[in-house]
């Protein structure tokens, strides 16, 4: 890739801020909690607009077929049907990564996965819309389907996309250092293959969209379940051929995302197109099978690893070959491909790296971004390889991981820079808390313990389209009617960023978190934000909020100073009071020099009117030196380590995870209660993928388990005891010292469980999920060979 731009990392000249906080670090139940426990809060499907009608999408029963004709004349005749659209209404392709865009709201000419939308209907009610779908006649020419990427890459005769030979969606090679030489000179080289499975987010709220096109003004208002309203905004403008300023997107509230709502849903486009066609608001709510058909979950990976070590157990090189199953369309594919590449560089120092990866099209629902994307797959392999190497060197996994762990200030060969890391502290803490060293290798047959580490980016350095604009903007408005109002387009998908943003604003403004009103998730009202992905919000919005709040303080401090009759640079603000840092406490119980925050605002308002200040954040661009090398670069990184303890039922092969001990470095936790929730949720998702979650596709591409009945995910009964710990940390490059905690903690869960199973029965499994069948067969084979 040619050199496109270099920008200085201005924000990295961070000043040393105080680490004494009043609002940051507080366990604050989320501000929207009461509305959630009472059912008062509204998600997209809860909204009803005047004259609103309902839309439904007709989905293909075939995984690979040419569409010869679509006849919807009978459907249109049905009483109550208002309009029908097909691929002809949306010929412009879209995609979250613009230069790889190949998706359509409805199939154009061909379907490439089971469940792909081919037509959509708007009708007076859902029952009528469903009846209308039955009346649409689609003539298909069924084609052979390919569902295995290892086969698809060999089949140039059967192209899923005509312009992609051998069904290769994208491929890339990265070489850092001299891995071949390093491997040849290594004291010990380990080589192994791994497979990570096809899983999905399984958020509980299905996607919904309500589009309201006003024919009189030509404006479109879309209410959507969307983690990335800005990108959806862009893509709607493209597909509907409308200027962005005629489109407004409001995200009411999201019932879980995990990356699954990190793309525009086809419901967004279909409802918009239908609404424009019929001139009434149209609501489309997905059934659970629609959610599965539009998957966007984790990429299955066929991974080949070669890992070299010197005589002391230090990593010399990693050679990683990754064949990724991308499903039918591009989605987040390129990004995920190169994230798997970048994830090899940390949390261990790897001096020589070779990555050779391909993302392959298959006739399956498209894969995309799912919590910890690109990291979960290689982490699963590398952590276990390290364990095997440890055995060779007569060390414990703990020792080899600590030996190779990166520290603050580390720069990887790919130029990924780690400003701060307490990864070693995480390893120490879990080992101590779980008594790992007393247990490893010493538990009776059938019981085992495993240790793994992980990390994740905390923000991304690049937009998905080339742009220099800030990645997030926050505006704080102060007046004496509403107090503090914070505008920021960051999207809370359940992780609690609304509360965390209020906490950060309150910290600098010196008011209470509960008194900050957050206006989020509306492209017309709130300020610009790229979206919820890459664990970027706390970090990015934090800097923007801090900057905005400091500007507010710069306006209010002189007013407070004149009221207190002291100099402006002697003023501080905390707990709702401006005060003189030298004379706060008066003698004999009298008040010192302090004045209530609201009084200062009142005085300011009298002479200046309302006060509003904006802050913004642009991350540093530490450009990588190779193809795709800019992916994986992040302002900073979060780290975590986990110990899993398992009990294998030797008669059934069922694995019971008894306990998981976790320690995370998220810098300064802004809201420890929310961090704990993120960790628990990560562990649950990892546990599901480790043991039983799997979307099953028949050889002809039919989806075999598109329901929450057949797609098994952990229930309350499956969760082990969890001991989640936050290690003491403060990242000086981060706003208020706080960084990622949403995706890092899923990385260690799977390898920790697999390693614990190895400790329990002496078998190293390399394929997910670890079903009872696989375990029981292994136990039987073990007995037979004895």
């Amino acid at each position: 890739m040619t050199k496109l731009y270099e920008v200085s990392n201005k924000y990295n000249n961070y000043k040393e801020y105080t680490r004494e906080f009043t609002e940051v670090g507080r366990n604050i139940p989320r501000l929207d909690g009461p509305a959630k426990v009472t059912g008062k809060v509204q998600y997209t499907d809860d909204l009803v607009l005047p004259r609103m009608v309902y839309g439904k999408i007709l989905r293909s029963p075939h995984a690979h077929a040419n569409i010869k004709s679509i006849d919807y004349s009978e459907a249109l005749k049905l009483d109550g049907v208002l309009g029908v659209i097909t691929g002809e209404d949306c010929p412009i392709a879209y995609g979250i990564v613009p230069h790889n865009a190949n998706e359509h709201a409805l199939a154009v000419g061909k379907v490439r996965n089971w469940g792909e939308g081919v037509a959509a209907v708007a009708a007076i009610d859902e029952a009528t819309a469903e009846k209308a779908l039955e009346l649409i006649k689609v003539e298909y020419e069924v084609l052979e389907a390919i569902v295995d990427p290892r086969e698809a890459v060999k089949r140039d005769d059967l192209r899923i996309h005509e312009d992609h030979p051998n069904n290769i969606a994208y491929e890339g090679v990265q070489v850092y250092g001299d891995p071949d030489k390093a491997l040849a000179e290594s004291d010990y080289v380990i080589e192994k293959e791994f497979y990570s499975s096809y899983v999905t987010h399984a958020f509980i709220e299905p996607q919904a969209a309500i589009a309201d096109f006003d024919p009189n003004t030509g404006k479109l208002h879309l209410y959507a379940t969307c983690q990335v309203p800005h990108y959806t905004h862009q893509q709607l403008a493209k597909v509907l051929e409308m200027p962005m300023n005629k489109i407004r997107i409001t995200v009411p509230l999201i019932g879980g995302g995990f990356g699954g709502k990190g793309v525009a849903s086809q419901a967004d486009f279909c409802s918009a197109l239908l609404s424009r066609k019929i001139g009434r608001p149209v609501k489309i709510t997905y059934e659970r099978s629609d959610v599965f058909a539009t998957n966007n979950g984790r990429h299955p990976c066929y991974m080949k690893f070669k890992m070299g070590f010197d005589k002391n157990g230090k990593i010399t090189a990693v050679d990683f070959n990754n064949l990724m199953d991308g499903g039918a369309y591009s989605g987040w594919g390129i990004v995920v491909l190169f994230y798997t590449a970048s994830m090899v560089h940390i949390p261990y120092a790897v001096p020589n790296v070779k990555f050779d990866g391909k993302r392959i099209f298959t006739n399956k629902p498209t894969c995309g971004a799912q919590r910890g994307l690109g990291g979960v797959q290689p982490r699963f392999a590398m952590e276990q390889l390290l364990d095997e190497a440890a055995e060779h060197f007569g060390m414990t996994p703990y020792e080899i991981k600590k030996l190779n762990a990166v520290e603050s200030g580390y720069t990887a060969k790919s130029m990924m820079y780690v400003p701060h890391s307490e990864y070693k502290k995480c390893l120490d803490e879990v080992v101590e808390k779980s008594e790992y060293m007393n247990k490893i290798g010493k538990l009776p047959y059938g019981k085992g313990i495993g240790l793994s580490g992980g990390y994740y980016i905390s923000g991304t350095s690049y937009t998905l389209y080339l742009s220099y604009k800030p990645h997030t903007v926050a505006t704080i408005k102060i007046d004496d009617e509403n107090g503090v109002t914070l505008y920021c387009g960051a999207t809370d998908i359940g992780q609690g960023v609304d509360t965390v943003m209020a906490q950060m604003a309150a910290e600098t403004l010196g008011v209470k978190t509960e008194d900050v009103k957050v206006v989020p998730r509306d492209t017309q009202i709130s300020t610009f934000d790229l979206g919820t992905f890459a664990s970027r919000l706390t970090f990015a919005t934090g800097w923007a909020i801090r900057q905005a709040a400091e500007k507010v303080n710069a306006e209010l401090f002189p007013v407070a100073a004149s009221m207190l009759r002291c100099r402006g640079d002697e003023i501080a603000v905390k707990d709702g009071y401006f005060y003189s840092i030298y004379e706060r406490h008066g003698r004999h119980g009298k008040k010192g020099k302090e004045v209530a925050w609201a009084e200062v605002v009142d005085v300011y308002m009298q002479s200046n009117g309302p006060l509003s200040c904006s802050g913004q954040f642009t991350p540093p661009r530490r450009k990588g030196i190779q193809q795709g090398g800019n992916i994986g670069h992040s302002p900073t990184f979060g780290f975590s380590a986990q110990v899993a303890e398992v009990d294998v039922d030797l008669d059934t092969g069922k694995i019971n995870v008894v306990k998981i001990t976790e320690a995370g470095d998220c810098g300064q936790p802004i809201n420890p209660m929310s961090v704990e929730g993120q960790v628990h949720g990560s562990i649950q998702m990892g546990l599901g993928q480790a043991l039983y979650e799997e979307m099953q596709i028949a050889p002809d591409g039919r989806f075999l388990n598109p329901s929450l009945h057949d797609y098994k995910m952990p229930t309350i009964r499956d969760m082990p005891k969890v001991d989640a710990n936050i290690v003491e940390a403060y990242d000086p490059s981060a706003p208020y010292g706080g960084k990622e905690s949403g995706e890092g903690p899923i990385q260690p869960t799977i390898p920790a469980i697999f390693s614990a199973v190895y400790d329990a029965i002496g078998v190293r499994f390399t394929e997910m999920p670890l079903t009872p069948e696989k375990v029981l067969n292994a136990i039987k084979a073990q007995k037979a060979s004895k």
């Binding site: 426990v37 399984a202 649950q684 309350i716």
Partner: protein, 162 residues
């Protein structure tokens, strides 16, 4: 399809609604009555988000016909807090205090399943709580804090604090 007027007692208020024989309780509660606190996550009885109390028992409203609920007492999440003062039910408060709420989509179902359990068995064991909640899927919280919330409510009941 032929429709019929039925009387549904929801949160101590009797609503007259016009329903067909196939209308599901969840849809009638959400769309006709407008109580959208009851959520629909799967429509197939797998996720528990649509849980309501019918005569005090936790039931999946996506698997019940509205027409079959005439004469029964239905409670939705909107009927749990004190109807006059708006004060949260202590179980709701426990969910908040323990961080058992993230995206909130499963929360109404979780609260109602827990309430049905504790109303019938004020001193449930951990195993009994898990049994009562195993039909309610949550993808955000990892369940640990939900279990803690219910346990804390059970504790404060035993101590007579609530």
């Amino acid at each position: 399809m032929k429709k019929k007027i039925v009387k549904l007692d929801i949160n101590n208020h009797v609503y007259e609604v016009l329903v067909s024989a196939t209308d599901l309780l969840v849809d009638v509660i959400r769309k006709q009555i407008g109580l959208t606190g009851t959520k629909k996550g799967c429509g197939q009885g797998d996720c528990g988000a649509c849980t309501v109390l019918v005569d005090g028992e936790a039931q999946l409203s996506c698997l019940m016909l509205a027409i079959a609920c005439e004469g029964k007492k239905i409670t939705t999440i909107e009927g749990i807090a004190n109807q006059e003062t708006g004060e949260l039910h202590p179980l709701q408060q426990a969910f908040l205090d323990h961080g058992a709420v993230q995206c909130g989509f499963c929360t109404p179902g979780m609260v109602l399943s827990s309430k049905a359990l504790v109303d019938n068995n004020p001193t449930p064991t951990e195993e009994e709580i898990k049994h009562a909640l195993e039909g309610n899927l949550c993808r955000c919280t990892g369940y640990v804090l939900i279990l803690e919330a219910v346990e804390s409510y059970v504790d404060s009941l035993a101590k007579g604090e609530v």
